[in-house]
């Protein structure tokens, strides 16, 4: 195999495909490598940990076709370190020569025949507005769980809602729901649970793309944007019945500027050490934020706000509250509560397409 490619283009391609490469090593050492396949001027880079596969197609100046597997991280590091300009990639026996400027590296290859044959789902593809989908994903993926012991909660539910698409995630402490009206991706009644890790990579790959092509079958989902395709296994199992968790009416309602509240939570959070909650005391005309950490000190801040309801103190995990505020759109948000132990509903006063439900923390 032999080809020539601009360094920056090759670095982008290698880095993107390497994001799916297993960091664990694991039972298949070949998965620590990237498959490099050249046919004419078309170079295809593939990285996979068997759950997530990322394929990047690049146009290069091809000379000799071939297929090899190179150590992924090393290849990225080498190409990134070369001088700007053209990079020559050439294989000879069990070695790949990577050269650029006056530098030359020889890298031992990994036997290519051990690389698994990966298939993409074969169902019909649908096209969706990339910016809107990325926006929706950014709002929900942070509420998905990182705890692999509860795999269902590590995914984002994609479900049809009315004439659009609904994205839902929860880690059992909070729930994020985003509606994308008009986005048709699923058949009626079809729902899929996509690992949030894969969707994070989808967001990253989307960049400024306008359209995203999606293929969903029973076991896999594939997302294609420009020259990048991400294929992920779907999570098998029943997603919690989230609809029953969303309260229909809350007697207390705080309306406040989103920016000032984010800034205040960030400041007060400095005194909320080791899972210490931030307490919000809501009363007519204002909200008071307090964080107290034993033996360290306390923080206190008062903000102007509109509040209707009985005076109430509710405590939240500051990280979870901040994440919710950051992903809620608009300049003004409402925080609706029942009491200090029931879920609080955070949403924009300007849009009904997104909601963030957050459980309080019990304080004495």
């Amino acid at each position: 195999m032999k080809f020539r490619c601009e360094r920056d283009v090759l670095v982008d391609g290698l880095s993107t495909a390497t994001r799916a490469v297993s960091s664990r090593g694991g039972a298949l050492p070949v998965l620590s490598g990237l498959r490099v396949h050249l046919e004419g001027d078309q170079l295809r880079l593939t990285g996979s940990d068997l759950d997530l596969t990322i394929t990047v197609d690049l146009t290069v100046a091809g000379d000799t076709d071939g297929e090899v597997v190179i150590p992924a991280k090393l290849a990225v590091d080498i190409v990134k370190a070369l001088e700007p300009g053209a990079v020559l990639f050439e294989t000879e026996g069990d070695e790949a020569k990577i050269s650029g400027g006056r530098s030359e590296f020889s890298v031992n290859l990994i036997p290519a025949e051990e690389f698994p044959q990966l298939t993409a789902p074969s169902a019909e593809s649908a096209t969706i507005d990339a910016a809107e989908f990325a926006d929706g994903l950014r709002q929900v993926v942070s509420a998905a769980s990182n705890d692999d012991s509860r795999p269902i909660l590590t995914g984002v539910l994609l479900a049809p809602e009315g004439t659009g698409l609904r994205l839902v995630s929860t880690d059992s402490y909070r729930l994020a729901v985003r509606d994308l009206p008009g986005a048709t991706l699923l058949r009626e009644g079809q729902t899929v649970l996509v690992p949030s890790r894969a969707l994070n990579e989808v967001v990253r790959a989307l960049g400024t793309a306008e359209k995203l092509s999606v293929v969903l079958d029973e076991r896999e989902a594939s997302f294609r944007v420009d020259g990048v395709r991400l294929t992920t296994r779907l999570i098998d199992g029943a997603f919690p019945n989230y609809r029953g968790l969303i309260p229909q009416s809350q007697p207390n309602r705080l309306v406040i500027g989103r920016g000032p509240l984010i800034d205040a939570v960030r400041r007060v959070k400095l005194m909320a050490r080791e899972a210490t909650p931030v307490r919000l005391t809501m009363r007519e005309g204002s909200v008071e934020l307090v964080a107290i950490t034993q033996d360290i000190g306390q923080a206190h801040e008062e903000l102007d706000a509109h509040y209707s309801g009985a005076e109430l103190t509710v405590a939240f995990n500051p990280e979870f509250l901040l994440t919710g505020l950051e992903v809620t759109p608009g300049d003004e948000v409402s925080l609706e509560t029942v009491d200090s132990l029931k879920p609080a509903l955070l949403r924009s006063t300007e849009s009904a397409d997104f909601l963030y439900l957050l459980m309080p923390v019990r304080v004495s």
Binding site: G25, S149, A275, L341, M359, V361
Partner: protein, 219 residues
């Protein structure tokens, strides 16, 4: 255990020579023959001592302790202020931190709190470098070694790695995988565990004990 409080001076002769001038000190003579001389300060280290095996000869006002290596500890006693002996019996050994031991006990009784389908084989499963906290089988029948800590740090991952290496030599356990369990696990420990194919699980001690947690859940 014999405890003597006495005004004494002490001379040691062996690898070097050392002298403790006349003062009031505690002399401990343990059942195994160890002799230790303590001052009224410091948590654990005696001023001088002679490990077992050794020979103690008491004569009028002088104790002479000699070891097989030829070391001699001579205690010259001017006045005995207190002299008692107690039978302490067999010591049960150092117990693990209460929370950690209780966590292990709770998880042994409820392995599914760690991962679905886990079944306990044995607590404190012996290996030739010490016992692994829990040995289980998963739903596929694969052996699973579990190390339980209160705080999950890199040391715990290293410890579990050593156990896994030993357990994998046993043909009946070959293919054994590891799970590192703690109330909270440091990010560095998670990275190290992931690089060694060891799963990490954080558990809620209060929840395992059936105590209502302050951290409320939606479901």
């Amino acid at each position: 255990m014999r405890l003597v409080i006495a005004r004494c001076s002490v001379d040691y002769a062996g690898r070097l020579t050392a002298h403790l001038p006349l003062a009031t000190r505690l002399l401990m003579v343990k059942a195994d023959g160890c002799v230790a001389i303590h001052a009224d300060g410091g948590a654990y280290k005696p001023l001088n001592w002679m490990n077992a095996p050794n020979r103690l000869i008491e004569s009028d006002g002088v104790w002479t302790v000699t070891s097989p290596k030829g070391e001699t500890l001579t205690i010259t006693i001017e006045e005995v202020l207190h002299d008692t002996a107690h039978d302490l019996g067999v010591d049960p050994g150092l117990q693990k931190d209460g929370v950690e031991a209780h966590l292990q006990e709770l998880l042994a009784a409820n392995c599914e709190a760690i991962a679905q389908g886990l079944v306990l084989v044995r607590r404190e499963f012996p290996t030739d470098i010490g016992p692994v906290d829990l040995l289980c089988r998963d739903a596929d029948g694969t052996a699973v070694a579990i190390e339980v800590k209160r705080r999950g740090e890199i040391d715990g991952v290293e410890q579990l790695t050593r156990y896994l290496e030993r357990l994998d030599r046993d043909p009946t356990l070959r293919g054994v995988r590891g799970i590192f369990v703690a109330q909270s696990i440091k990010p560095q420990a998670k990275v190290l565990a992931a690089s060694r194919d060891i799963d990490c699980v954080e558990v809620d001690y209060d929840e395992l004990r059936g105590i209502e947690s302050n951290v409320l859940r939606l479901f």
